[in-house]
């Protein structure tokens, strides 16, 4: 039990990094109602860009900014695939994600992974100093949530929300739904890449596969956050925070099952199963509600 408890701070830090990712995913998945698989690629892009820039001697904040912009660019590509090529959102995301695998390899100089030692560079977070990491992450999360809260309260933010909610209504009110979807993809993947850059710092390396399954973890975080805090958190900022908490809970659960003895190789299998079940819950709830419809009182004679 002690080993599990001692692993908690690390799990929380890692969960918080993925929580940032979940906040990014929230924009496409919840607000635009699109499943964007680009994130599996753009998360790694963020990590790769950060490591290469920082290792090249660039200031860490500037590196993070570039990581974010690289993610935005990835989102722009998916947005264009979706709105200008007419490709369904899921497929558009898969295409970009596939392309990004090559891009990420190129960024990493053809190597599958590249180290970034906290001893050599001035990193913001690292698993070698978890307390400091937690503080830095808390600040980042607060700033990101505040910025998004502001953005989605603006005219443009409202038009994004309307686009995700009712496209016919949005267009009837003069909203260019294609542009708004592109903005959503750009914003979302920027934040996802930023969190990739954070993870690369935290673990001390970037790996071309670091984003594989990111969408599943992000969805898990969003769904866990909703299930756990949905009744409590009604405000938009709090809903985003719930996604971060969802990420943290997810990683606490992961370290718990690892502590129980689950082989690390089986983690993704477990994640996929858990997320599938959680995605199924609303559907099953409906089914159960339908089956509960009472027969006509008095039986068939009255029907």
């Amino acid at each position: 039990m002690l080993t599990f408890i001692s692993s908690l701070p690390g799990a929380i830090a890692q969960g918080a990094v993925w929580g940032i990712m979940a906040v990014g995913l929230y924009i496409t998945y919840k607000i635009l109602d699109l499943a964007d698989l680009t994130v599996d690629g753009s998360f790694g892009t963020g990590g790769a860009v950060l490591v290469v820039c920082t290792a090249g001697g660039m200031n860490i904040f500037l590196s993070l900014l570039l990581a974010l912009l690289a993610g935005c660019l990835a989102g722009l590509v998916t947005g264009i695939f979706h709105t200008k090529f007419g490709i369904p959102a899921i497929l558009a995301g898969i295409l970009t994600q596939l392309a990004l695998y090559s891009v990420n390899l190129r960024v990493l100089g053809g190597k599958a992974n590249q180290p970034l030692s906290v001893d050599k560079y001035n990193l913001l977070i690292s698993l070698r100093n978890i307390n400091k990491s937690l503080i830095v992450l808390a600040i980042f999360i607060a700033v990101i949530i505040l910025v998004l809260y502001w953005f989605f309260g603006t005219e443009l933010g409202h038009s994004l929300r309307a686009t995700g909610c009712n496209q016919a209504m949005a267009r009837a009110n003069g909203i260019n739904t294609s542009t708004n979807k592109i903005i959503g993809f750009v914003l979302s993947n920027g934040i996802v890449a930023l969190s990739g850059g954070m993870l690369a710092q935290y673990q001390g390396f970037a790996d071309v596969n670091m984003g594989r399954g990111a969408i599943v973890i992000g969805l898990a975080a969003i769904i866990i956050g909703e299930v756990a805090f949905g009744k409590l958190f009604k405000n938009f900022a709090l809903k985003l925070l719930a996604a971060v908490f969802g990420g943290i809970i997810y990683y606490i659960v992961i370290s718990f099952v690892l502590w129980l003895g689950l082989p690390a190789n089986d983690l993704k299998l477990l994640s996929a199963i858990v997320v599938a079940f959680f995605l199924g819950i609303p559907y099953w709830k409906n089914k159960i509600a339908e089956n509960r419809v009472k027969p006509v009182p008095g039986g068939d004679a009255n029907a």
Binding site: T154, E155, A168, A172
Partner: protein
């Protein structure tokens, strides 16, 4: 105010489902015209409204609103000229957004949307006043999700949103068809009120012949994607349902076939 010139539209051309919806349609609306549109199933009534709104492109012909040729403009760019209310009460509002947020969206129809805060305090007060006029008790529910409202309330709100920024042309596409008779009457009365007070030019598709006669200053009847009858002024006031049915049989050479119109 509106000119529809020789517009053709065929859906699914070259397939077994080919359907010629508009067949050389011509219509000119004068400033302040309130036209009711009737016709059988598939006559092209809704298609005409959708063509004006730019939901899908025309095959040929042109559409001119307030002197501007909008034939090639996409739907969201034509929105600045148009207020629209749809048959489906769910379609005209964003269910997950608040009443005031929906109204704020509508109040900026046709304007660029930037990074200004979406609703100002002054606007909130204005919205309250406007809602009070609807007399549906919505004025104290500004931050209720629209999805929680009844169909009638949503339709009344959609109507308000369509006119709160004065449109050049108001398009009402069977906007009371999905409502119960009492609510429908209320929404119709509201439509009359808004059109009169705002001196709006409006087109209202309806399946209810009595409504078509009782409202507006002009009535057009459509069949096979064309206008077969166009009555206005004093002549319109004298119309009866029987006359319209007879006229239809005579002009189209067939019985008036609209599953709902005959019952009403």
């Amino acid at each position: 105010m509106l000119e529809i010139k020789n517009v053709y539209k065929t859906f699914n051309p070259g397939t077994i489902n080919e359907k010629r919806a508009l067949n050389g349609l011509n219509l000119t609306l004068n400033d302040g015209d309130f036209v009711t549109v009737i016709g059988g199933n598939g006559a092209g009534k809704s298609t005409m409204l959708n063509m004006v709104a730019g939901v899908y492109p025309v095959d040929s012909g042109s559409i001119i609103i307030d002197g501007a040729d909008v034939t090639r403009l996409p739907e969201h760019k034509r929105a600045k000229y148009l207020g629209r209310v749809f048959q489906d009460p769910m379609m005209g509002t964003a269910a997950d957004m608040w009443i005031e947020e929906n109204m704020a969206l509508a109040s900026r129809r046709g304007q660029a949307r930037g990074l200004k805060w979406a609703i100002s305090k002054a606007e909130r007060e204005q919205f309250k006043e406007m809602l009070r006029e609807l007399d549906l008790g919505l004025e104290n529910r500004l931050s209720a999700k629209v999805g929680l409202l009844s169909g009638g309330q949503r339709q009344a709100l959609t109507l308000l949103m369509a006119v709160m920024k004065k449109p050049k042309l108001l398009l009402l596409d069977e906007h009371t068809a999905a409502l119960d008779p009492k609510t429908a009457a209320k929404v119709l009365a509201l439509s009359d009120k808004f059109i009169e007070e705002g001196h709006l030019t409006a087109m209202m598709v309806t399946h209810n012949m009595k409504d078509a006669i009782a409202h507006g200053n002009r009535l057009i009847m459509m069949n096979n994607g064309q206008i077969i009858l166009d009555v206005s002024g004093e002549e319109k006031k004298k119309l009866t349902v029987e006359y319209l049915l007879e006229a239809f049989t005579k002009l189209s050479g067939s019985e008036f076939a609209n599953d709902r119109a005959l019952l009403s």
